[in-house]
Amino acid sequence: MSLGKKKKKQKRSSDVDIPITPMLDMAFQLLTFFILTYTPSPQETSFAMNLVPAQAATKLDAQMSSDAASNADLPASLRTLDTGLRAAEGGRLGRISLGENAIDGMAAFEKELTSILSDKDLAFDQALIRVDPRLHFSEVMKVIDIYAKLKITKISFSEMTGADEGSPQ
């Protein structure tokens, strides 16, 4: 009995105490570093596309986009939706035109585009966006966004010239 008690006492006295405090100090230092370097910024996203030279898109013998698969037998001019974007004061969006028609605002543009693309008889699968050079990039991006939403990623751009000024009203 007495021998057993002695053994227990010996075990208790040889308990190893691990000092947690230095580890905690290091952990707090790491935590401080990560808190200071953390910047909660919105995630960057992107639109990936293959851009063929823009002016060629409306010609009958225009170069096809490299990812064109469907309707390859149709000329590019019959497959291309022509969008015109004019700038207002301060680089904001002034007027949008889709083909020959003037469109009133971005919501109406999206609605019109949706109805065109849902028409099975029409073979549009790429877009040409003619842009006023004064227009802000954010406005162009809104139009790209709408096209991307409607699964049109074959897009080409051209700069709106003086000759385009008189076209769609």
Binding site: T21, S46, M49, V52, F157, E159
Partner: protein, 156 residues
């Protein structure tokens, strides 16, 4: 007598749960931290687009990419310098020549159309006019770049 009393009443706070919490916080910050934004220029405020998709890291590694940051005045921010539109066009020509040399050195055959395998990543400021951007895009296309990527932001 008093010494033995004080040793019995000594408070030893249990630090283990605190350490657990701290390690969990460290794990969280290690997972969300992003060191890979070396090509991002904070002077460029990207436009917002809802349907743009995040690029997966695998394609970033697999593809050769050339990032062009363009500020609100239409100047190209590239390799720590900023270039006017004429200088930017020269830079693009130079980069295209370098890509061609790289491709040749690597023994890779170019596309019959002459298009380069490098993807141009455009990080353009939301308030820049389209004119200078179009000039840059044209310069890229004229020098054989056909793969483009436009950067945007999610949310507002």
């Amino acid at each position: 007598m008093s010494a033995s009393l004080s040793s019995e009443t000594r408070a030893e706070p249990n630090l283990t749960p605190l350490l657990d919490v701290v390690f969990q916080l460290i794990t969280f910050f290690m997972l969300v931290i992003n060191f890979s934004n070396d090509n991002f220029d904070q002077r460029v405020k990207l436009p917002v687009a809802g349907s743009a998709r995040p690029v997966d890291d695998a394609s970033k590694v697999a593809e050769d990419r050339l990032v062009l940051n363009i500020d609100s005045s239409g100047r190209l921010l590239f390799n720590g310098k900023n270039y006017s539109s004429d200088e930017a066009i020269e830079q693009i020509k130079l980069q295209a020549a370098l890509v061609r040399l790289n491709v040749k050195a690597g023994g890779v055959k170019l596309d019959p159309s002459g298009s380069l395998p490098t993807r141009i990543v455009i990080r353009a400021d939301r308030d820049m006019s389209f004119g200078p951007l179009y000039q840059l895009m044209n310069a890229c296309q004229n020098n054989g770049f056909q793969k483009f990527e436009f950067k945007a932001m999610t949310g507002s």
